[in-house]
């Protein structure tokens, strides 16, 4: 059982400030992802939790106890590193046994020969072996125990690293981009395995990644960091559908959310020539975020019905390039009112999709926007939430 609390963590390396006061509560048994671009401080934060770095100020609490003075080994954590960090000259079995040897044996009994000849060493040996074999079986690496890390594939090394972390029965699992050295296919597979591991173990997981897909698919909650600040913490759906800032909206979602400029005045939002009946608490230029999958193309056959919805507000769209992604297509282009601003539309194909002929009618398309799916941001990047009750009324009038 481990509840992890970070209180106003600050850290700088020399003159560079890396973390500007991070506060975060991680519930017991939760899978939380720290996600952000490289250099945002997420790995530093993880190392501070692990005790490998000391924060300049702030506090790390595990189950309510401050851990600042505790060594990494006393925090009841396990950590998996990006490059696996296996001990290169030890066999897989020895690698996995190390945390147990360190935890169960007194210093004098850990020395190479002493482990076999001292009573303490001999007594602990069966327990250590049993612990290693149990975890090895669970991760299906029990046939590899005699090999050296150099003789293993990337996926196998990853499993050994997981095993070494699991074997000491930690309460908190810290992972620093554990999948980034795997190829794409293996990544998806190990991703599922880690999620299953979390479900079956019930441990608290803190997972660092720069890949928003990993963060979204695996975690119960996602904490998005940018330049040392926590932008938003929430469930994957919260961050996707209800972002607090433009930065969050842009980071989450692939392909990236489309941003176009508009203006808010007199209870209306103007995009190009089109006036949308949306009342925002501001007047002046705003930014409008439109997810690529929410733009409908009503006049094109060959797309599934959801993408041909007739309701909504029409905009003119200049098509420039169509990418075929298999089950769906990605259309690159721009709205007629802002031709320099690239807009992407993702639409699902239907049975009648006929390749290039689908767009035989030309490059200018009428597209429709669904008001409920638009995200509005002020000039400062903060989310502006419209009052939908008034908007709906305006629509029905």
């Amino acid at each position: 059982m481990a509840q992890l609390t970070l209180k106003n963590i600050k850290k700088s390396f020399g003159d560079t400030s890396v973390l500007h006061g991070i506060s975060l509560d991680v519930m017991d048994g939760e899978f939380i992802s720290l996600v952000g671009q490289s250099g945002c401080g997420k790995s530093t934060l993880l190392r501070i939790i692990a005790g490998l770095e000391q924060p300049d100020s702030g506090d790390v609490l595990i189950d309510g106890k401050s851990m600042l003075d505790a060594a990494p080994k006393d925090r009841n954590i396990a950590m998996v590193f990006q490059d696996y960090a296996l001990y290169p000259h030890m066999s897989v079995g020895e690698n996995m046994a190390m945390p147990l040897v360190m935890a169960k044996l007194p210093l004098y009994a850990r020395l190479p020969v002493m482990r076999r000849i001292t009573p303490a060493g001999r007594n602990a040996q069966p327990e250590i072996r049993a612990g290693v074999e149990k975890v090895a079986k669970q991760l299906r690496i029990d046939h590899l125990l005699d090999r050296k890390p150099a003789q293993l594939s990337g996926g196998q090394r990853q499993r050994v690293a997981l095993g070494r972390a699991l074997v000491r029965d930690p309460q908190t699992f810290l992972m620093d981009e554990p999948l980034s050295n795997l190829d794409a296919k293996l990544r998806v597979q190990v991703r599922t395995e880690i999620t299953e591991l979390h479900a079956s173990s019930g441990l608290t997981f803190v997972y660092v990644t720069h890949d928003q897909v990993e963060a979204m698919t695996m975690s119960s909650r996602v904490a998005l960091l940018q330049t040392g600040r926590l932008l938003q913490v929430g469930t994957p759906n919260d961050l996707f559908a209800d972002p607090d800032t433009l930065d969050v909206a842009q980071f989450i979602g692939s392909p990236e959310i489309n941003i176009t400029v508009g203006e808010s005045q007199n209870g209306q939002v103007i995009i190009g020539e089109t006036a949308l009946p949306i009342a925002l608490n501001t007047t002046g230029p705003i930014q409008i975020g439109i997810r690529p999958e929410t733009i409908c193309i009503p006049n094109v056959s060959g797309l599934v019905a959801a993408h041909r919805a007739a309701h909504g507000h029409t905009l003119k769209f200049e098509k420039r390039l169509v990418e075929d992604l298999g089950p769906e297509i990605l259309i690159h282009g721009a709205f007629a009112h802002a031709p320099e601003n690239i807009v992407r539309i993702r639409a699902q194909k239907s049975d009648t999709y006929s390749g290039v002929d689908t767009f035989a009618q030309g490059n200018t398309l009428d597209v429709k926007l669904n008001l409920n799916q638009l995200l509005f941001f002020g000039a400062d990047g903060q989310r502006l939430r419209p009052d939908f009750s008034t908007a709906k009324r305006a629509e029905t009038v």
């Binding site: 590193f81 960090a85 290169p88 000491r168």
Partner: protein
């Protein structure tokens, strides 16, 4: 070159050694000259060790001795003086120096390479600066100090100036820096103490560096004449290299015996080098330092 090759179709001994091009021919000649420059002193040494003193001085030089005094010379060097004691002294001093050097340099190098602490840069700068100070500079204060504490003519006196090798600290620090930080961090999470990180993780990875340094250190102190000459007074503490000096006096030097002595003193290192050749060469290429 075309004029070098013979047109015969049957391969002769010459075909096997003939150069493939003029460039190769020049290279081979240059290598021959280089090898001769390196080997000639050894040949001279061995040749002179078989001669009586007056023939060593002979203007009419020949490699083959006219009066063969080899047996007498070598017998005198090996049996008339405690040759094995000298060898043992050299072994004790060199091994002692090496062991303490490793014991001091490896933790220091680890701290400089991998631990973050205030002043580490200045400390490392000091190490670099200390490399530039030769033993000759500190020898007088060291000597006076050893006289004051009455430790002259001991093994301790022979080892003392060399027990901390700044070169070793520098060499190991550079080597340890390439050791992945994440493995050290993983070890800390797993509960290793810093000493255990060095013993269990860094040392096994540093075997090539340690082997290379050991060869450097051992050879350097085996061949060292300067410091033993200063602090050793009695024959039973003489190192092998120092023992050569016995045949020189103010009035007379027996060169035949001196050369024979030089031969038997050099021999163990040459033989050891032949066996450890590969390690030694790897050490040189690794550090980029000329031997």
């Amino acid at each position: 070159m075309a004029d070098i090759s013979s047109p015969s179709s049957v391969p002769t001994w010459f075909d096997r050694i003939k150069p493939k091009s003029f460039g190769r021919f020049v290279t081979t000649v240059l290598l021959f000259i280089g090898a001769w420059i390196m080997v000639f002193p050894f040949i001279w040494m061995i040749s002179s060790s078989l001669k009586p003193t007056d023939e060593v001085y002979d203007a009419d030089f020949s490699l083959i001795p006219r009066t063969f005094k080899g047996f007498e010379n070598y017998y005198a060097v090996i049996f008339d003086q405690p040759y094995l004691i000298f060898l043992m002294n050299s072994m004790i001093v060199c091994t002692g120096i090496l062991v303490i050097q490793l014991l001091t340099a490896i933790p220091a190098a680890y701290a400089l390479a991998k631990l973050k602490f205030r002043g580490s840069t200045i400390l490392f700068g000091t190490v670099i600066a200390a490399i530039t100070i030769p033993i000759n500079v500190t020898s007088i204060p060291l000597y006076i100090g050893l006289v004051r504490v009455g430790l002259l003519d001991t093994y301790f006196a022979m080892m003392f100036p060399f027990i901390v090798s700044v070169f070793a600290i520098f060499l190991f620090r550079q080597f340890f820096r390439s050791f992945p930080d994440s493995i050290i961090q993983a070890a800390r999470v797993d509960g290793f103490s810093e000493i255990e990180i060095i013993l269990r993780l860094i040392l096994p990875a540093a075997v090539p560096a340690i082997a290379a340094f050991s060869v450097f250190s051992f050879v350097a102190h085996w061949n060292d004449l300067y410091w033993p000459l200063i602090v050793v007074q009695s024959q039973d503490k003489m190192t092998a290299t120092l023992s050569m000096m016995q045949y020189q006096s103010m009035f007379d030097t027996d060169y035949g015996l001196t050369y024979a002595s030089a031969t038997v003193v050099t021999a163990p290192m040459v033989i050891a080098f032949l066996f450890a050749r590969r390690l030694f060469i790897r050490g040189i290429t690794m550090t980029g330092v000329k031997g």
